[in-house]
């Protein structure tokens, strides 16, 4: 059995999810837009998933739009916001640690003439809501900040920020990428007053190729692709009904156990941190206050990729912390003032509720073995 500790990259689809998808593919294969009964069946199936996801966020089903994944959700959210709300106002605020789907989309908008402020953490590597608020100008129309950052698991003060924005600048559009938080941390639209939220199915034991965008009532949208009337014409194209059914099944399964899993995974993290603490060559890159699902650390002198492949030979799957290739880093670790040499050696371990304490013991043993046998960088 592989020891899979890369759950922030993707998760193993749950049996109930596979069942829902198989059922949809083999029996409810009608086009949700078809007028006949088979079409209706497929539509009801999509609506059921929509209701489930809306319920999980504490909102109504009309506010949920299905996409091909979080990358598309964020593209749609940001590009639509720019097209509708960014005509006169041109300023966007975001964080310096966003996932590529948001970062690159905002870079593209910048190329088109928008101005962008990328807020950095303070000298201790902590983001302050006030820093984002201070960046607001009369020209600001959009703020996009992620909730749980995907490389180190740091939690950004989005809740506080969005509440302050809602009070002080209600006209500014608030988008949040909750991919690493949805179904892992409690996320509801009453606590997190966002206008737009990006979610993904495959990070929560659902299928790849499916995501959702929460759109608060009253937010005007403009599609980024043209086509038919599906998803209110905002996201044309036949709905991926089998994948959507799988997404719904995943949320149904995960929603009742958010608190329980959070507590369990927190214990796992405590165990891992304790064991890592005993190894003198380990430096922690994560914030102990961050999401318990993600732990990022560096093994001194052994480059991420090398340790990753070593662990893979031991049957343990992790991620290279900064996904750097040939010296090109994502820059996220750098944003926290983590030195390059340390970032080069970063590993990301990410849990699911299926992770066991024995697997963490195996990880520690393998790291010790690797550290002892692998050639070090001087």
């Amino acid at each position: 059995m592989p020891i899979y500790l890369d759950n922030a990259a993707t998760t193993k689809p749950a049996p109930a999810v596979i069942e829902a998808i198989t059922e949809a593919l083999s029996r409810h294969y009608g086009n949700p837009s078809s007028l006949h009964r088979m079409g209706l069946e497929a539509q009801l199936m999509v609506d059921d998933a929509r209701k489930t996801i809306a319920g999980a966020l504490g909102t109504e089903k009309d506010c949920i739009l299905f996409t091909s994944g979080a990358t598309e959700s964020s593209n749609l959210a940001l590009r639509s916001a720019a097209a509708v709300y960014g005509r006169r106002k041109k300023h966007i605020i975001t964080s310096a640690v966003e996932h590529a789907s948001v970062r690159s989309t905002i870079d593209a908008l910048e190329q088109q003439g928008y101005t962008v402020t990328r807020v950095k953490p303070d000298e201790n590597g902590v983001f302050q809501a006030k820093d984002f608020l201070d960046a607001v100008t009369p020209d600001t129309f959009l703020v996009s900040v992620m909730l749980a950052e995907n490389e180190t698991g740091r939690i950004l003060p989005v809740q506080k920020l969005f509440r302050m924005l809602q009070k002080k600048y209600p006209d500014i559009i608030r988008h949040c990428d909750v991919v690493q938080a949805f179904m892992k941390l409690p996320v509801s639209v009453s606590d997190l007053p966002a206008d737009l939220l990006s979610m993904s199915a495959h990070k929560i034991h659902g299928p790849k190729g499916c995501g959702a965008l929460y759109i608060r009532k009253g937010i005007r949208m403009q599609s980024i692709v043209t086509g038919g009337k599906q998803e209110k014409g905002i996201r044309p194209g036949t709905e991926a009904s089998p994948l959507i059914a799988g997404f719904g099944a995943a949320v149904k399964l995960m929603q009742p156990t958010i608190a329980e899993r959070y507590a369990y995974v927190s214990e796992l993290r405590a165990l891992l941190l304790e064991k890592l603490g005993e190894l003198p060559y380990i430096t922690l890159n994560s914030d102990p206050e961050g999401s318990p699902y993600i732990v990022n650390f560096s093994v001194k002198g052994i480059r991420s990729e090398i340790m990753l492949h070593f662990l893979e030979d031991e049957g343990i799957y992790v991620s290279s912390g900064s996904a750097c290739s040939k010296g090109v880093q994502s820059g996220v670790l750098g944003a926290y003032n983590i030195p390059d040499a340390q970032a080069d050696c970063a590993l990301r371990v990410s849990f699911s509720e299926e992770t066991t304490a024995a697997e963490i013991d195996a990880l520690i043993a393998a790291i010790e073995k690797g550290q002892a046998t692998l050639i070090h960088k001087k």
Partner: protein
Amino acid sequence: MKEVILVKYGEMALKGLNKGSFEDVLFKNIKYRLRPLGQFAYSGAQSTIYVEPLDDSINLDEVISRLQKVFGIATLCRACVCEKDFDDIRTKALTYLEEAFETASSFKVEAKRADKSFPMKSPDICRELGGALAEAFPDVCVDVHNPDVTVMVDIRDTHAYVYAGKIRGAGGLPLGTSGKAMLLLSGGIDSPVAGYMMAKRGIRVSAIHFVSPPYTSDRARLKVEQLCEKMTDYCGDMHFYCVPFTEIQEQLKRRCPEEFFTILMRRMMMLIAQEIAKKEEALALITGESVGQVASQTIQAMVCTDAVCKCPVFRPCIGMDKTEIIEIARKINTFDISIQPYEDCCTVFTPRHPKIRPQLEAIEAAQEKGHFEEMIERAVAGTECKTFRVGQ
């Protein structure tokens, strides 16, 4: 209308008494390359090979595209087959050339009469056919200096052939006429180009690649296998040898001065490649080195690496700039694969300050200390071989 492809040799035609054996190999190579596309009839005469499709469903564009990658061919012509009778030539030419004339604004006719018994002389053929074409396509005028389309009429032994223009072939000599060599394939841009250049001179190429798991990944190896597969377009079927190199690299890192690491590693690679070459009956090694490109590619460094070589080492890129190498890499479609960013065994342990002008004595002394003999034997024994076939 029956079409054939006229395959004309390049420098092979200049070979003296050996010409026949070169022709045989070229014939075999062409047949092998076209076999997956269907049935063809082949015949040869007057330094030309006639390739005639025997099946209407054969896509001649695909045939041309494959033949363009066969070494030993100077030019290719896609021609219409006519009776040796001027009326037939004229009638067929008018229909056959319609497509070529649609987009042209000027033309000229050239005729070659290999069969001197044909009643009309070449200038007469040009004049008569030119007149007929000018009449049939009034928008396309005659321009003998700089025409858009050059119509060729070839009067040969059994038939006449009409075609519009020549297509450049790959040049060089037929694969296999110059023996076999072993290419050190790293995954970078240069080595596939080096392999291609030697294959062009008729050398059958086998590739050898060194892997150092866990310092290099499965993806890096897969990338090199993709490169090798792509190279078969030009190089034909290739053997691919994959050498386990971790133990030697770790030993080098532990036992030898850091500044000598790359040179010593290159020497190890050469030693192993020669052993595999022996098994493969390859008589030379090929590398993608270019003078001065990196620290291990200085003349002094090459002296040190070549000191372990008992066979010639071909370095066809030696005098080329990176931009020139990239141009060829793009042409042979290996560039996009080469630039995938996976770590290979040459880069994992790169020293901070490699020795640029190493002395052979110092390098040899350093190598002594490593006691590599058994490790080299183990690496050779652990080498895996795969075959990549053209058109797979």
